[in-house]
């Protein structure tokens, strides 16, 4: 298995670094899937993650000026690696004003993802920093668990409000309760509710707008003001919101009543999907 990529454009590098920072905030350990045209950061819904799963996808040609990979085999031309997300984001942080960034799969004592940063230097000599990030290659038989999650038909699909606002609301709510109810309707209204013995707090967001539905059949029956709700763990929602340092280009929320909430964000050309299951 081989992989080498090079990023030379400053804007691409910064964007890649931001994505990596976001992943580091969302998942301590994640899977990096390398395929001929895409890179994916994956978190599968194991119990260890609390049932949360994440699927982040980016087109490699939007970032890399050079990209070569050779997967497990010709039929399975993919590479799945497990790494500590923070190691990658820290290594990329050093590439802030770099001339070029190279990433490649290496095997020095143990398998690594080597990030090599070529920095500008005051004098003529270029400065090079190399970081060997230890990784684990995920065997072929486990790949089936790491596929793109199926998105069930949502009961309600709604655009999210400004994430920073949502985050500050949820942060305060976390002090009161550990469960939160997200509910939304097709009339552009989203509510965040917490309820304890002593107090109920609801924050209402209005005029958010709903994306056009894929399947029109079920929607006709329902009253647009009818709320679809799901109970989730507030910390999981907060972790997701805290990971968004930059306002996304597009932010969508799909609710499947009492089953899960699915967030779909677009950061320029990078798509992030985050699934939080309902509390049983």
């Amino acid at each position: 298995m081989k992989f080498r990529g090079k990023i030379v454009d400053g804007a691409c590098l910064n964007h890649f670094t931001r994505i990596s920072n976001m992943i580091a905030k969302l998942a301590k350990t994640c899977t990096l899937r390398i395929s001929p045209d895409k890179l994916n950061f994956i978190l599968c819904d194991k119990l260890a993650n609390g049932g949360v799963s994440m699927w982040c996808e980016l087109e490699q040609e939007n970032f890399f000026s050079e990209f070569q990979m050779e997967g497990f085999s010709a039929e399975n031309n993919e590479i799945y690696l497990e790494l500590t997300s923070e190691n990658l984001s820290r290594a990329l942080k050093t590439a802030q004003n770099a001339r070029a960034l190279k990433i490649k799969l290496t095997n020095k004592h143990f398998p690594c993802l080597t990030v090599s940063v070529e920095l500008f230097s005051m004098s003529s000599s270029t400065r090079i920093a190399t970081h060997d990030i230890p990784i684990k290659v995920i065997p072929r038989k486990l790949w089936k668990d790491l596929q793109e999650p199926m998105v069930p038909d949502p009961d309600v699909s709604i655009y999210l409000p400004v994430l920073k606002t949502m985050k500050s609301v949820v942060e305060k709510m976390k002090n009161i309760s550990s469960h939160l109810v997200i509910e939304a309707n097709r009339d552009g209204e989203l509510n965040l509710k917490i309820e304890t013995e002593l107090v109920c707090v609801t924050t209402h967001f209005k005029d958010l707008g709903n994306p056009p539905l894929a399947s029109e059949s079920t929607s006709q029956d329902r009253n647009p003001e009818h709320m679809a709700e799901v109970h989730i763990d507030i910390r999981k929602l907060l972790q997701f919101l805290a990971g968004q340092q930059v306002n996304p280009t597009k932010a969508l929320c799909n609710i499947v009543t009492n089953k899960m909430v699915h967030f779909h964000l677009l950061h320029e050309d990078v798509s992030l999907q985050y699934f939080i299951p309902a509390l049983s």
Binding site: N87, H131, I133
Partner: protein, 345 residues
């Protein structure tokens, strides 16, 4: 200078708490704008250092800080005979340092006549399978002075280096680095118009077979995992020479809280011979030895100690020429320790 009632100047060696001094000089901007004069003097009758700020309109602010007399330590180390000498603007080195993840205890410096490389210490990264191994090359052009007499790789405490660089960025002078082979101390030196500071760091030695120069009195030690440090807990070091202690055990072990004496703190290899200046004229006004006191549950004991020599008053010009002259062998009997009131920070 310090004066007592009889108007003679005294060489006072004392210690002041950093917590007392820092708040006084905290707001640099307001100090520069509003203060016309600052007077610092001692009142040895009351064991206080008095710092007075004279503002406009006759306003005067006085701070009285208690001091404690101390016998500073001195190091047997002549930086001028080191085969490798580098000089670089601290800013450039600090930029390189930023690349290393903060969890690292040690960093290795590898030099050849052509280049300079900072890298994660091998020992450390092998232990933790999750650790990132980093390398950073700085071209010789970035240095103001680059003289390497011998290819070498030395390992020393990263935290100390970071602290020293932060300190040196305040001065506008380049920082000079003097070193030799692993085991021999590393000196970092800043010489500004007003301040001269020398930091001596211990470095990790290689094999016990490596000959160590008698002058420097450093002890080579095996790279063996052991918990000999435990033996030191609470005990003063007896015996003539610095004991040969192997490197501390693997990071994962949890150590009880120990107050290591200064000598035991220096027992890791490469510590220079120590002597307390018993009233000798020294070029330093204050020194402190950081030791490796750890809280329970910490993964890695800090492996090195370092010596920090403070600023020198310009009156003591003659000491600049022979910085490390007035030294004798290490004295580490219990009696000496008590007299000197070694501080354990």
């Amino acid at each position: 200078m310090n004066e007592n009632e009889h108007d003679t100047t005294l060489n006072l060696k004392c210690k002041l708490g950093m917590k007392s001094i820092l708040p006084i000089f905290r707001c640099l901007n307001s100090l520069e704008r509003n203060i016309e004069k600052c007077k610092i003097f001692t009142r040895s009758d009351k064991c206080k250092v008095v710092i007075q700020f004279f503002y406009r309109h006759g306003i005067k602010r006085t701070h009285n800080i208690c001091f404690e007399e101390s016998q500073p330590l001195q190091v047997i180390f002549d930086k001028n005979v080191c085969t490798n000498t580098l000089m670089i603007q601290p800013r450039l080195l600090a930029d390189a340092i930023v690349l290393f993840t903060s969890s690292q205890e040690e960093v290795t410096l590898a030099v050849t006549p052509l280049n300079f490389c900072l890298k994660s210490s091998n020992e450390e990264s092998m232990d933790l399978s999750n650790a990132v191994y980093s390398e950073m090359f700085v071209g010789s052009d970035d240095f103001d002075f680059f003289q390497i007499g011998m290819n070498t790789e030395i390992t020393f405490c990263f935290k100390e280096l970071k602290g020293i660089l932060t300190f040196s960025e305040v001065t506008h002078a380049p920082i000079s680095i003097y070193f030799d082979f692993p085991g021999k101390p590393l000196a970092l030196s800043i010489d500004d118009m007003l301040v001269e500071a020398n930091f001596i760091l211990a470095t990790l030695a290689d094999e016990p077979s490596r000959a160590s120069s008698p002058q420097s009195l450093c002890l080579s030690q095996k790279r063996k995992r052991s918990d000999l440090i435990k033996k030191k807990a609470g005990k003063n070091v007896t015996g003539q020479t610095l004991e040969c202690i192997s490197r501390k055990a693997a990071p994962r072990r949890i150590y009880p809280k120990e107050t290591l004496t200064n000598i035991s703190a220096l027992e890791n290899c490469g510590s220079p011979g120590m002597k307390r200046a018993n009233g000798d004229i020294s070029e330093v006004s204050e020194s402190s030895v950081s030791n490796t006191e750890e809280v329970p549950g910490s993964r890695c004991l800090r492996k090195f100690s370092c010596m920090f020599f403070g600023a020198v008053s310009s009156d003591q010009q003659e000491h600049f020429n022979h910085p490390f002259d007035s030294l004798a062998r290490a004295s580490d009997s219990e009696e000496d320790m008590n007299n000197g009131r070694f501080s354990l920070s």
